[in-house]
């Protein structure tokens, strides 16, 4: 646990036109640990994740991976580094089926031809591991899936690959009781296998159940990055809603986005 961060961001700024969404944000993820990223609605969590994933270009700031400064100018760069992300808006192709979505961009082939059979097998196994029992057929278009089923497909898609950093943006929002438990277990297991996992969630129970560190965003500013064992439930909620809690948090509590 004394290892350095595998992923580190410093001084990230990001604006959409006149609206500045991220102010000088610093964030790190450590191998073998689950880092929870929390914050109110609209705090900038998803924006931060998209900056990490190369979906949005950052306006300024530094991006370190394994201690080296890197430039991530698109999702391909992030994937090449070994960062795998489940986005909040899922980003599935509605006109493709479950297997096709899960292997999109990384299809297995034998020669020129797609190896549909082995992809279907692997997809079936991964989904079964996530407690999905109501999917009628793996060849169903994702447009016909229920909200929770879609989310499961997106999660399965991301964990299928050997990556070093896995970021999950509200992965359990639409999941049922059993499926949520499976995903949390999976998150813990990934970290125990040495991966760096970032979990975004509004559910404090889940956050405290699995995470080692907690980073709290408040109106686009990083209010605090703390060890989960050193803070209480109530403190985190205060950080989320007010930007500070006692010693912790932003010095200047009214740091609203201009």
């Amino acid at each position: 646990m004394s290892q350095g961060p595998i992923l580190e961001l410093r001084g990230i700024n990001k604006s959409f036109g006149p609206v500045q969404v991220l102010h000088d944000v610093a964030f790190s993820a450590y191998p073998g640990e689950v880092t929870a990223l929390v914050g109110d609605n609209g705090a900038g969590k998803s924006t931060l994740v998209k900056c990490i994933g190369g979906i949005y270009p950052i306006d300024s700031g530094e991006y370190f991976y394994k201690g080296e400064r890197v430039h991530v100018s698109g999702p391909r760069d992030a994937a090449a580094l070994g960062v795998e992300i489940v986005y909040q808006d899922l980003a599935l192709c509605d006109n493709l089926d479950i297997v096709q979505n899960m292997f999109l961009g990384r299809e297995r082939r034998s020669g020129l031809v797609l190896d549909e059979d082995s992809m279907e097998e692997m997809a079936a196994k991964t989904l079964a591991g996530l407690s999905v029992r109501t999917v009628k057929s793996l060849r169903q278009h994702v447009s016909s899936l229920s909200g929770g089923q879609r989310q499961t497909v997106a999660i399965a898609k991301a964990v299928l690959w050997n990556s070093e950093v896995v970021i999950l943006d509200e992965p359990t929002a639409a999941l049922g009781v059993a499926q949520t438990a499976q995903v949390l277990e999976l998150v813990r297991r990934l970290a125990d296998n040495g991966l760096a996992v970032v979990l975004i969630s509004h559910n404090m129970n889940d956050v405290f159940a699995v995470s080692d560190r907690i980073a709290a965003l408040y109106l686009g500013r990083m209010a605090a990055e703390v060890k989960a064992s050193e803070v209480t439930h109530a403190q985190i909620v205060e950080l989320i809603t007010a930007g500070r809690s006692g010693e912790l948090g932003l010095k200047n509590g009214n740091g609203a986005a201009s």
Binding site: R76, A91, C93, N95, L96, G105, L114, A128
Partner: protein
């Protein structure tokens, strides 16, 4: 992680009966596939046959193929661009430019036919590369880029074939493409080989899936499919192998027109590319949700450019076929309604203009509808104005049959 696997829901009823039932239910449920277009086509053919018995003759059947070939080939290329939700207004005149290049090199420069054809095809590919780059890299809407190209290519054809004249094509090989037939025996052989290969592939695939414990198509179903293909294709080959010369003593005219195997090969190639390769998968992904594709690490720009390259390349083939059929190239080659008919063919076949939905086969089905309408209207003998009006109405009829059957199906929930 629990290791329970998904229940193999359908293995229970994998007998033929169950499969047929499943198919009927899927049809009822809206998964119509090619059915509506085929249905529209059949209605058209019946109407024309009743009004003009000549429509049903072997000659006319053969004519249908050569008449519709160029539009169908161009439409097949357009499918790629349409799958991305883009449009290529210039495909018609791109075919004209390529045909003009062919004619100039062949007739004026005296190149051998294979070099001239190669040059025409390269021209097509380069055109696609330029158009695609403008769309993908500069982000100009494809409608505008290809509208500009539509105008520019019109000019290029004029410059190549010199204002209002035309260039005759005399090379026998090129002329054969749209005007000669495959020897009847070769037609039968090709048919048998084709059906056999299809059957073999289907069986091997089913065996492999069954071996892995995945849901596989039952043997009975495969047998039924192979039989259907053999019968339909067999009838077509049989009819095309009938003597259709009006004066058989003077000249014998029988066999499958050369364009038919050409189109079948193109259909197989592009269907394979779209359905069985990663590239085809990525085309659908970009058309369905470009952002999702980008996030999945697909190089969206490259996919876009390549689709335009394929489209213009196919346009060049269409241009060569058109030049062969017309025995010449003039400034109108690829002009008038070629583009609209090609896009129309794709859409009638079931391809969506919004991207993400379409097959190579659509171009053929829709192209057949367009060709049948043109062919049938030619038999009716209307005056110009009436002919336009009736053609429009017939097109609407064909599309209406299609739309209504889809709509009925959609009422059960699918879209």
């Amino acid at each position: 992680m629990t290791t329970e696997t998904l229940p193999k829901q359908e293995n229970a009823d994998s007998a033929l009966g169950g499969h047929v039932k499943g198919y009927l239910e899927r049809v009822k449920g809206g998964e119509l596939g090619a059915l509506p277009a085929v249905f529209g086509l059949v209605i058209l053919c019946v109407v024309f046959s009743v009004l003009r018995p000549a429509f049903l003759s072997a000659v006319n059947f053969a004519n249908l193929f050569t008449q519709g070939a160029a539009v169908a080939v161009i439409a097949m290329g357009l499918i790629f661009v349409l799958l991305l939700g883009e449009i290529d207004l210039s495909a018609g005149f791109a075919s004209g430019v390529c045909a003009a290049v062919l004619a100039v090199l062949l007739t004026l420069q005296g190149w051998p036919w294979y070099l001239a054809v190669l040059a025409a095809m390269v021209t097509g590919a380069v055109i696609g590369l330029v158009l695609g780059s403008l769309v993908a890299k500069l982000g100009i809407p494809s409608f505008v880029v290809t509208l500009a190209a539509f105008l520019a290519f019109q000019g290029v054809v004029l410059l190549l074939v010199k204002d209002g004249t035309n260039i005759s094509i005399r090379d026998e090989t090129i002329l054969a493409i749209a005007n000669k037939n495959v020897p009847p025996v070769a037609g039968w052989i090709a048919l048998i080989v084709g059906v056999a290969v299809y059957a073999a592939i289907q069986f091997v695939q089913a065996r492999r899936r069954a071996g892995r414990g995945l849901v596989a198509t039952p043997v009975a179903v495969i047998a039924a499919r192979v039989a259907t293909l053999a019968v339909v294709a067999g009838i077509a080959v049989y009819v095309l192998n009938l003597e259709r010369s009006r004066n058989a003593a003077l000249v014998s005219l029988k066999g499958v027109p050369i364009v038919v195997p050409l189109i079948v090969i193109l259909l197989i190639v592009w269907t394979f590319v779209l359905r069985r390769t990663a590239y085809g998968r990525h085309i659908y992904a970009v058309g369905g949700n470009a952002e999702a594709a980008r996030r999945a690490g697909i190089n969206v720009d490259r996919i876009r450019i390549s689709a335009f390259v394929i489209c213009s390349f196919m346009a060049s083939l269409g241009g060569i076929i058109a030049a062969s059929r017309a025995n010449s190239v003039d400034p109108n080659t690829g002009g008038s309604n070629v583009l609209l008919f090609a896009v129309g063919a794709a859409v009638i076949g079931g391809t969506s203009l919004f991207g993400g939905k379409g097959r190579a086969l659509d171009a053929l089905l829709g192209g057949a509808v367009v060709a049948v309408i043109e062919n049938g209207m030619g038999l009716m003998g209307y005056s110009a104005g009436v002919k336009f009006v009736v053609t429009g109405l017939v097109l609407l009829l064909a599309a209406g049959v299609d739309a209504l059957s889809r709509k009925r199906a959609a009422a059960t929930g699918r879209s």
